[in-house]
């Protein structure tokens, strides 16, 4: 059985089911309780769970992120939302120096079972402080797990797995996916395991490795390329840390050509890290150098004509695939 709901509704369902199942879980962030979140993800939660478990915070990102770490050390399961991932710099210390490190630095005495939801991504014409894709920065820090779902089903299944995971998990949610309606399973206990990629389209000529909204653009590009006789495989990583290396290896060993697509600033991107890993470990499998198709090394612009230059569109992906294949 399946049903068709939006990605934001799917996330909402995941949160709701886990709140009912786990009384250690609580939600905190800006505008999460009375308003029910700017993307309506938690409407009604306050009525059902009360103010102790659905907490409206002041605009104090460092404060509430750090308090979530303290609560997690005591065995609670906080789910924190930053209204935009751009605000992560406001709470860098509690996330990067505390949540990511305290397990290791204490010799394994604690787990930090917290989830940080971060709406991200370009395309909403919100300019440079509300549009970033900071996967590269977050994946740099050992101690965090990182997921970046695209489909509604994956968004629900991964948020549920993230909440049940004993480690800190950062969830990148692309804002322009929220309204997209897709089929998802009816199953109340639908989980997508952390660390497992998904082959969205089988192909034999080239592997596109991607995640989040660029999965949909890559699928569009793959259809256009199919019409020209180029058979592309699309691998949706879904989880960035731990990366599903087995899936990458299997696909690259089949197609021997790789394009990595992400919305990130290209310099220092996670796409670059994946490219380097493939070059180091799968060099013998490659027929051509691995290419990255990312954003530019610039601040996200406001004007639509400018912003559209700053993340890969399906036609850009088509061109890049042909470049790699020398066609």
């Amino acid at each position: 059985m399946s049903k068709k709901i939006s990605v934001s509704k799917a996330i909402r369902e995941g949160l709701l089911e886990e709140m009912r199942r786990d009384d250690k879980m609580f939600i905190m962030g800006e505008d999460m309780a009375v308003m029910g979140n700017v993307f309506a993800i938690t409407t009604g939660f306050l009525d059902e769970f009360g103010p102790n478990r659905v907490i409206d915070t002041p605009i104090s990102e460092e404060g509430f992120m750090g308090m979530a770490v303290g609560a997690a050390m005591r065995g609670m399961h906080p789910v924190v939302e930053l209204m935009y991932d751009d605000f992560v710099t406001e709470c860098a210390d509690p996330l990067l120096n505390q949540a990511a490190k305290l397990k290791y630095m204490s010799g394994g005495q604690c787990s930090i079972p917290l989830v940080l939801r971060m709406p991200m991504g370009s395309g909403r014409r919100n300019a440079g402080q509300h549009s970033q894709s900071l996967e590269g920065m977050i994946c740099h820090f050992p101690g965090l797990k990182v997921v970046a779902p695209c489909s509604a089903a994956d968004a629900k299944g991964l948020i549920k797995s993230a909440i049940r995971d004993p480690d800190p998990v950062v969830v990148f949610e692309h804002k322009l996916l929220y309204a997209r309606k897709e089929e998802i399973p009816e199953d109340e206990d639908y989980l997508v395991p952390i660390g497992k990629a998904s082959v969205k389209r089988q192909g034999k000529d080239l592997t596109i490795i991607t995640w989040s909204r660029e999965v949909n653009f890559s699928m569009e590009a793959a259809e256009k390329l199919a019409a020209e006789g180029i058979d592309v495989e699309v691998l949706d990583l879904r989880t960035l840390v731990p990366i599903d290396w087995e899936a990458i290896k299997a696909s690259v060993s089949k197609t021997h050509n790789v394009l990595i697509v992400s919305e990130e600033v290209k310099r220092g991107s996670y796409a670059g890290e994946i490219s380097a890993e493939i070059s180091e470990e799968l060099f013998d499998e490659l027929d051509a150098p691995v290419e990255r198709l990312c954003g530019l090394n610039i601040v996200s612009p406001f004007s639509p004509v400018l912003e559209d230059q700053n993340f890969p569109h399906p036609d850009d992906i088509v061109k890049a695939v042909k470049r790699v294949l020398n066609k």
Binding site: F26, G63, F64, G66, G70, M73, Q98, K103
Partner: protein, 320 residues
């Protein structure tokens, strides 16, 4: 007498650590709390076994005063496998989360404010009766974390007590050169939080202020801030000659030495010199043994370097 014993034990631990450091037995650096012993002893006499606490880079005294094992503390300073954190944290990161409810010393100034407030939030949500005490120094009151989390803790009436040990120096910078209020705890008033400022060399004054503070927090009335004025005998780190400090600072400090002051009070109550000496000797022996234990303990196995990063799926998470 118990307070005296704790203070003497803290000082003996610190002096032993300093000696080991000077001899080159310790890697990295250490921050000593010599001179601040009454603050640790007074505060931890008031803190109950069910309570939680956080500490700082200058945190050895808190761990010893809490009743943690000096052997395991010293082994952590030595980077040994037998240390509280298996040698992965070191001096600035001693923690004993399960037994002592010690949520960790922290190398980031102000981090413990957030963690202690978060622990108190957990207590409120779970409805338990524990209070969390955040111990930190003067300079961290200038971090945003102080103001952000005190505002939330006050608004939500969280059971948290903040214990500021004001030794007047943030590394080399005298606090009043960079801070506009004569006392630091008075900043609590901005958030409608009660506070007390006490002489941190007077162990019973610290104890009494902390009892009041803990009762307040435990009764559901929200946070309380206690500031203890203390002297830091050493420089910022062990080996720092502290040339930035006027000589009057140390003259005043020695006149107010907390252990000597309490010793005189106890003598006035009839405690003999021999009894006080016996406590000092016992502390020396205890810390000699702690050093011996740490020195003879094995280092961690290099193969364990990637252990403890993640609770689930550690191997794959650290592989790439």
């Amino acid at each position: 007498m118990d307070l005296y014993r704790t203070m003497v034990r803290v000082r003996a631990f610190e002096e032993h650590a300093a000696e080991c450091f000077t001899k080159g037995m310790l890697a990295g650096n250490i921050h000593l709390s010599i001179g601040q012993e009454a603050a640790a002893a007074g505060a931890f006499a008031a803190i109950q076994p069910e309570d939680y606490f956080t500490s700082t880079h200058r945190g050895h005294g808190h761990a010893v005063a809490r009743g943690m094992d000096p052997k395991l503390c010293m082994a952590e300073l030595f980077g040994k496998k037998t240390g509280y954190c298996k040698g992965k944290g070191g001096s600035m990161h001693i923690a004993d989360m399960k037994k002592a409810n010690h949520l960790g010393a922290n190398g980031i100034v102000g981090a413990g404010q957030l963690i202690s407030a978060g622990s108190a939030l957990a207590s409120k949500i779970m409805g338990d009766k524990s209070v969390t005490v955040g111990c930190f120094g003067d300079s961290s009151t200038n971090e945003g974390s102080f103001h952000e989390s005190l505002n939330m803790a006050a608004t939500w009436k969280l059971p948290v007590v903040w214990f500021i040990e004001n030794n007047c120096y943030g590394v080399s910078t005298e606090i009043h050169r960079v801070t506009n209020t004569p006392d630091l705890a008075t900043r609590a008033a901005a958030y409608d939080v009660p506070f007390a400022v006490v002489d941190g060399s007077d162990v019973t004054a610290v104890y009494e202020a902390m009892v009041t503070a803990l009762d307040h927090a435990r009764s559901g009335k929200g946070p309380y801030v206690v500031e203890a004025k203390v002297y830091r005998y050493q420089g910022h780190y062990c080996g720092d000659p502290a040339v930035y400090r006027p000589k009057e600072y140390m003259e005043q400090a020695l006149e107010n030495d907390c252990i000597e002051k309490l010793g005189k009070r106890l003598a006035a109550l009839g405690v003999t010199e021999a009894e006080l000496e016996e406590i000092k000797q016992a502390a020396q022996t205890e810390m000699d043994e702690a050093v011996k234990f740490a020195d003879e303990s094995p280092y961690p196995d290099p193969a364990e370097v990637t252990d403890d990063m993640y609770t689930a799926d550690n191997e794959r998470c650290v592989a790439r």
